[in-house]
Symmetry: C2
Subunit: 458 residues, 2 copies
């Protein structure tokens, strides 16, 4: 039996090795800073799970014009692998990932709105991430980079919104997938600074299946010997691990019904003997998805953002603990606490780290307690106008998660004396879209109509 799929990997290793000697660097390390705007903060960002970034940058792009009273801004949040390039710009005429969605007269109407899209913290498209130089060491953070939460990402975005643009209140905070997490996180952190929230194919808390799928992606990457515990910069990148991780991820992005129709159980070439290398059409599709991506994204960024998604939880327990942890890091940083324990923390921080606060192991929640906890967390912004969109064929962020957001917010709204009518929920049936999680990229009309209507209603 022959193994062309393995030979392809060996060939890429060889090519990369040659390029490492002669330059240029692998594709993923070409950060597109020249195509984006950069906001730089010299203030530290304190983090939910301990530690801080002493300084950081947020790369972003904008479309449309900010009006005089700064009331027409929409902050668009991205998914895991997307950059801020949602639409072409003067600096970068390449089509963006939501090119058809944004523009004059489009669903996100640039004649009306000023749209800001950022590259998330921890990513590899210009914002501070694991490949950035740690100012304390003068070399890339790599896996010395601190664990980030989705809430940490939005706190960095908030600094941009306030300090760069002076926007005191966003017209809307919106996004899909991890972007759907971020816009809820933004509303949770800065409730009074946002009018409307649109969460598409997102969730309020990760669930075990999605954590399991991301866990496998991280494990296949981390066991690639070239990953080298994250210290591969300037060396051979873990392209095989990245390819495999993307193949697993791709399974979660699309769905059974689409694949049934598109690939069925057809083999790529039925005249050939079956093989252990990609053979069925569905396999060649996954293989191609992995090939396309394996050098396009920084492996460490992938790990950190993926982990941040696992940790996402707007329940009260998680948020309270995070606030406490940040507060303690701040105190230590500003030297306001002088207990011996705190000094121990302080002295043990090499570069930008503060050890996590050790707390007693918390008792596990029952299902009821977990629900109650999430209700408490979401209630914080349940009086706001929220649009939640879910997709029946999504297996990664299943429709029940969007129903959960909507019903909890609605309950929360009533607890606050409202009638729940401020919470809108749209669910696309399998007939509307069989594209699964990727629906927001593919069935734009089904997403766009409720979005533009929700944005324009006072």
């Amino acid at each position: 039996m022959s193994f062309p799929c393995l030979e392809k990997l060996e060939q890429r290793t060889k090519n990369l090795e040659e390029n490492l000697e002669n330059g240029p660097e692998p594709a993923y390390s070409k950060i597109t800073r020249e195509n984006v705007e950069i906001y730089k903060s010299n203030e530290p960002l304190f983090l939910d799970y301990g530690g801080y970034l002493p300084q950081y940058e947020v790369a972003y792009e904008t479309w449309g014009t900010l009006n005089s009273d700064k009331s027409n801004a929409i902050l668009l949040h991205t998914g895991l692998s997307a950059s801020s390039h949602a639409h072409s710009t003067e600096k970068n005429p390449k089509k963006g990932w939501w090119e058809g969605f944004i523009g004059p007269g489009k669903y996100l109407d640039t004649d009306k709105y000023f749209i800001v899209c950022t590259n998330v913290l921890g990513g590899c498209f210009g914002s501070t991430g694991p490949q950035s130089i740690d100012p304390m060491l003068g070399e890339p953070y790599a896996t010395r980079f601190p664990i980030l939460s989705v809430n940490d990402m939005v706190r960095a975005q908030h600094e941009l919104i306030i300090n760069q643009f002076g926007i005191r209140k966003l017209h809307a905070s919106m996004g899909s997938s991890m972007g759907g997490m971020q816009c809820l996180a933004y509303a949770h952190e800065f409730t009074d600074e946002v009018n409307k929230i649109i969460s598409i194919s997102g969730c309020a808390r990760s669930h075990p299946y999605s954590i399991a799928m991301r866990h496998c992606q991280r494990q296949v990457l981390m066991t690639d010997p070239n990953w080298n515990k994250g210290h591969y910069y300037g060396q051979l990148p873990p392209h095989t691990g990245m390819k495999l991780a993307r193949e697993i991820a791709t399974i979660t992005y699309r769905s059974g019904p689409e694949w049934e129709q598109r690939f069925g159980v057809e083999r790529a070439d039925p005249s050939q003997k079956p093989a252990l290398c990609p053979d069925f059409l569905i396999e060649t599709y996954l293989d191609h998805a992995g090939e396309k991506w394996c050098l396009e994204f920084d492996p460490n960024s992938f790990l950190y953002i993926s982990k941040g998604m696992d940790l996402f939880d707007l329940g009260e327990r998680n948020r309270t603990k995070a606030s406490k942890s940040r507060y303690q890091s701040e105190n230590i940083y500003f030297g306001e606490v002088v207990s011996e324990t705190d000094l121990e923390y302080k002295s043990s921080t090499s570069c930008s780290f503060v050890e996590p606060i050790k707390t007693k192991r918390s008792r596990r929640f029952t299902a009821e307690e977990a629900e109650e906890d999430l209700l408490k967390g979401l209630s914080k912004f349940a009086h706001k106008d929220v649009l939640v969109i879910g997709v029946e064929s999504d297996i990664l962020f299943p429709a029940w998660q969007q129903r959960e957001i909507a019903s909890m917010l609605s309950k929360g709204s009533k607890l606050k004396g409202g009638d729940g009518s401020n919470i809108k929920h749209v669910e696309l049936s399998e007939t509307d879209s069989f594209y699964g999680h990727d629906t927001f990229l593919l069935a734009m009309d089904h997403i766009g109509k409720p979005v533009s209507e929700f944005l324009s209603v006072d």
Copy 2:
């Protein structure tokens, strides 16, 4: 950040390397031949996808007593990773994987029935597989082993049933998961030699999501450098690839609802800082599943059986092509065809291989044609008594696949002049079992009651 999960892998590599020098061999190579019975065939087995095994062995175990007219035999087919050890025996008192299901007065009542369970061809528990010695070369087949179909596996079982026991008609052919595929394949191949068929959490044709999940498992294994294109016998086994493959597989064996209740989004130790190594309870569960299995099963057996599952398709097109291919191999083997092309095939066969018959690339089926094709294939045995059991929470062999089998067989029954009442279908709701694909191992009462009733009705 520390990476205990990677250090654990390094430690295992080290331990295995030491053991390779001093013996004993890694666990998966200890074939349990002393605990099973062996049927040996010196006749070749011609294979669906070309080639043949010149000789082969089928390892098996039995429970109960074959009655005088040999009418009480049940052939029990296994899933991918299970051995023939469904129940303890005198030779092997270790509890079997269906210990509670089989026995006097149990759902598979050994006071009434004679039960035979085999180790599938291609496996690693005593039947001929990739680790067996290729008689032409005097060394393990490894990836020179031919591609096997599920139908090939049941043809080998049939030889055992006929030649070892002289059973002309089975009371029942039954199984779960890949065993559910096998019992349908058995009925398709030997329609008149089986009374009743019980397919649990099986399917009549694989579907793209399950192929995709198995593809990823195979890829992570094959890219482990220790897999060495299948030639690792006597060397370091690809334990890391096997561990990762099992973690991915484990996701497909259980289900969201169970995990929500069992693990929720609790971290294993919330007092610790989040980590990239297993951290959430669900991650430690997957990690443990991978650890347990990584040296228990021959990696090549895993690849071949997994591939056989992908290829499973009882549609008429697939079955006709397979028959033709076997017929041509047989003709070549017995020297009955002397065309130049055939001679070419013959001369090119090193060891036991016959090159596949090159046919014109077939046109892709539309969804309707695919359905029609499957109906034709299943109609072959649609007049038999069939019980199909599906589980709503199964994501690997979803309930729609069992509905598909039942409705097609029912349609086929009517086409043959029956009324469809010979086809029974049971679907377990999420309330009956939230265990997903593993339900047959865990919610035995829900499976056992319809099974024993179906077996006892005339």
